[in-house]
């Protein structure tokens, strides 16, 4: 009999049921996603506000950029599907399969990051900086790099999380719930990209 049992007088403390009947880790991940959504929402509000308020807002994106962004979208959406397949395998206790799909997801994420950096390099080569650009309002560069940079940071963080949790799941240190939490974060990144593409890129397509 433990000291705690003696102290409590054999009364076992009852745990309150978890809100929404989901594991605590999953609830914590949802709450984190909610807070992160507010961060992105603030960025999008600032972006929209300044874009409307600025008379000389440039529209510099030509079809080459649009094609590149669509390829990035295809890769990220595909990685969402592969991550869902990883979770599906994990729920069937197919650890090898789950890890394989997680690796494929990570591969797609790495390709996305490379293309994103390539896109940035293209803009930098054209003279776009955080405080200047050759076409119009200097705010364009600041907002473009800030919003897309925040998305890129989340993708990189997601890749690191997938690597750690994926390896941990394969070695049975983590459970399928942990992999599922990584999936939530990865899908959240995809959802944010769905907002970034039309409002940062497509609304600024050159006439």
């Amino acid at each position: 009999m433990s000291q705690a049992d003696l102290t409590m007088g054999h009364h076992v403390p009852e745990m309150e049921p978890s809100p929404f009947a989901i594991p605590a880790k999953k609830l914590a991940m949802w709450l984190f996603i909610i807070s992160d959504v507010m961060t992105f929402a603030a960025c999008m509000i600032a972006y929209g506000f300044l874009r409307n308020f600025t008379s000389d807002w440039p529209r510099p994106f030509h079809s080459s950029t649009v094609v590149s962004v669509m390829v990035m979208t295809f890769i990220l959406v595909s990685s969402s599907l592969t991550m869902v397949l990883a979770i599906r395998a994990a729920k069937s206790d197919d650890r090898a399969g789950a890890f394989r799909w997680t690796l494929i997801t990570m591969g797609a994420g790495v390709i996305f990051v490379i293309l994103h950096l390539r896109e940035w390099q293209g803009m930098i080569d054209k003279g776009v900086r955080m405080n200047a650009n050759p076409w119009g309002s200097s705010l364009f560069g600041a907002l473009y790099f800030s919003v897309t940079g925040l998305e890129l940071l989340h993708v990189v963080a997601g890749l690191i999380a997938l690597l750690i949790v994926g390896l941990g799941y394969r070695s049975r240190r983590y459970s399928s719930t942990d992999l599922e939490n990584c999936n939530l974060f990865w899908q959240f990144i995809n959802v944010v990209w769905m907002f970034v593409v039309p409002f940062v890129y497509l609304l600024n397509v050159a006439n």
């Binding site: 959504v37 929209g48 409307n52 308020f53 959406v77 869902v84 899908q187």
Partner: protein
């Protein structure tokens, strides 16, 4: 001990995946149409909400959670979308002059 779940087919996920790609293609088509800026934003926003909704409900498995969680997520999402759309339209208010503004 983990319970092993028998998994259904992946047809549902493939349909959602294809829908998201089609929505992205439609957004590109809208971007190249010569329409009013407000109309373009409204159409893009509608498609984005649809795409994001599919991702959240099926890829994040929110549709499989308890109804109370879905309602909580929906209320939060509406709040975020409301603040975004208020923020953008508020910029027009500043440009054209807020009520009782000293600038005319």
């Amino acid at each position: 001990m983990q319970t092993v779940e028998k998994q259904r087919g992946i047809g549902k996920y493939l349909i959602v995946y294809l829908c998201m790609l089609v929505i992205s293609a439609i957004e590109v088509a809208i971007a190249y149409r010569h329409i009013d800026g407000v109309q373009m934003v409204a159409q893009m926003m509608a498609l984005v909400i649809l795409s994001a909704g599919l991702g959240i409900m099926f890829f994040m498995n929110l549709a499989m959670e308890k109804r109370s969680m879905i309602i909580a997520a929906a209320i939060f999402a509406l709040f975020v979308l409301g603040t975004i759309n208020y923020g953008w339209t508020d910029s027009f208010r500043l440009v054209s002059g807020a009520p009782f503004s000293t600038y005319h």
